[in-house]
Amino acid sequence: MTTRPGFVFVSALLVLMVLAVLGTGILTLGAREMAMAHAMEERARVELAAEAAARDALARWSTRGHAELAIGEESTVAVAVPGETRVTATVRRLDSRLFLVHATAHAGVGSDAGAPARASAGLLVHALLPHLLEIAFPAAIVAEDHVLLEDGDVGIARRCHAPPPAGVQAPAVVLATGFHPSADPPLVAAPPPPIPEPSPVADPLAGAAATLRLDPGAFRPDPGPAGSDCRQHPLNWGATTPGHPCSELRPFVLIGGDARIHDGEGAGFLVVQGDLLIEHAIFHGIIFVYGHLTLGPGATVHGSVRGRTVELRGGDVRFDGCAIDDALRAGHLDGPFRAGERWWIPVF
């Protein structure tokens, strides 16, 4: 048998080589595409996880929980997001009322191309610091101007754990610049402590912190019968009776003008941006009135009341530190607020 020269085999080899080069190139491109898509997916995942961690920190936010931080200090907060991404979050106090939530997310493992993906997100949080407001309510009755004590009873129910405000003989029963008619001790004729700024009653954020924003008018707050569930409605301001389904409800009620409360009961933090008359009603917590406050027959308040002028005409006011403490947690007072138009910031 003789071997004859031919080119079919050589041609086939050449064609196969060309095809192999093309095929290898396409496969390489495909693999590269896969790696890049994976990296993009990881990046998106950690970015979303960092944002979710920051939001989770907000969901668990309590201003009181961070009140002890000095400016510049930070503390770690517990956060959890679904998936395998590792997340951490810290809260740093930037200014007296400004905090930074710094959340970081790491992918579990790195890709072939490099280190695990990592992303951070910063969130500025504005806080009202309601606990600082405690100093503005050092007595059963506090008046910017004068107090008229015509009929009724004033005293101390509980001091609770509220520390006496500095510079004030606490707990004072009545604190005002003047009295009509003149009264004996324990009334303290002294300028009431100023309301610290920012305060939930003066800060523009107060409206956002309020649980209920009501128009001026007459009200009969009613938490409903004891045997039913606690249902939220504009006239359910919580219950004062222990064991009532609404006994834990402590709303921040903001009334945008003059109001009259006749009969009923409520608790929490009541701010009236006008004058207020209370008759035959029970309230546990803080009542802050921009104008004139009248406590008529049957009006019973445990906590503290403050107004420009206060008139006691048959009412009963008892200083109660625990009720004040509860009131300062009312509504969203302890919650996080946007610091302004900018709340998400890049952190490096």
């Binding site: 740093r92 500025l124 409206g207 919650g335 996080p336 607020f337 302004g340 900018r342 998400w344 490096f348």
Partner: protein
């Protein structure tokens, strides 16, 4: 007629030549098609790389923008603050602040400004000078145009990202537009979503080439209360 071994007839030669011609033509077309496919695939990969790069760059820059940070929006460009670093202000005196700075580059007075955030809001200052300092355990000293009271500093430059001549480009100040991607995008432009007004980058006719770029400030934070009158 006798048949001599090893010698083909003319007809056989022609037949073989014709068959070879057919096979070689088919092979040539196949290889050419494969080449075109590879080229198309390469173009597609390059296009997708450009889309990815655009998504990463613009997504990162836009993600943390507040409404005031976006200075201008046109079909071919957006002009906005590009944050390059920041940190807590650890000390301040007159017009100078010391910042525990971290960033993707050091502050450069020639191009940067400083945004200071504090209790009372924020203020923007041109950066007059910058130097490393040993204060606060290592910081950057920033000289501003006037005394400022913010407690957190963000260093930024104002730049314009443009989608022109088939590429994403960046221009700082009055400088030239430097391409950040290959010029392979198809009639790219910026626009706003007609439904919700979200900024979009349209990088090609394919729906996958439409990038939505919502800043986080447009997304409400759970538990983060909004003040009255604020969006």
């Amino acid at each position: 007629m006798t048949h001599r071994p090893g010698v083909a007839s003319l007809a056989e030669v022609l037949l073989v030549a014709a068959l070879y011609l057919v096979v070689l033509t088919a092979l040539a077309r196949f290889i050419a098609d494969q080449g075109r496919t590879a080229a198309l695939q390469g173009d597609r990969v390059r296009f997708e790389e450009a889309v990815r790069a655009t998504a990463v760059i613009l997504g990162t820059e836009v993600r943390f923008l507040a409404p005031d940070d976006l200075a201008a929006l046109a079909p071919d460009s957006i002009r906005a603050r590009a944050f390059r670093g920041g940190g807590m202000v650890c000390e301040g005196r007159d017009q100078e602040v010391w910042v525990r700075y971290r960033g993707i580059r050091v502050p450069e007075p020639a191009k940067d400004s400083v945004l200071l955030v504090g209790n009372e809001g924020e203020s923007v200052h041109p950066l007059l000078a910058s130097a490393r300092s040993s204060r606060c355990g290592g910081s950057v000293q920033l000289a501003l145009d006037r005394p400022a009271g913010g407690r957190y500093a963000l260093v930024f430059e104002t730049g314009a990202y443009s989608l022109s001549a088939g590429a994403l480009r960046y221009r700082r100040g009055a400088g030239g537009r430097q391409p950040l991607t290959e010029a392979i995008l198809l009639a790219p432009r910026f626009d706003a979503d007609p439904g919700d007004g979200t900024l979009r980058a349209v990088l090609g006719p394919d729906p996958d080439s439409l990038l939505r770029l919502p800043p986080l400030s447009r997304v409400l934070g759970l538990g983060l209360l909004n003040a009255p009158g604020r969006p």
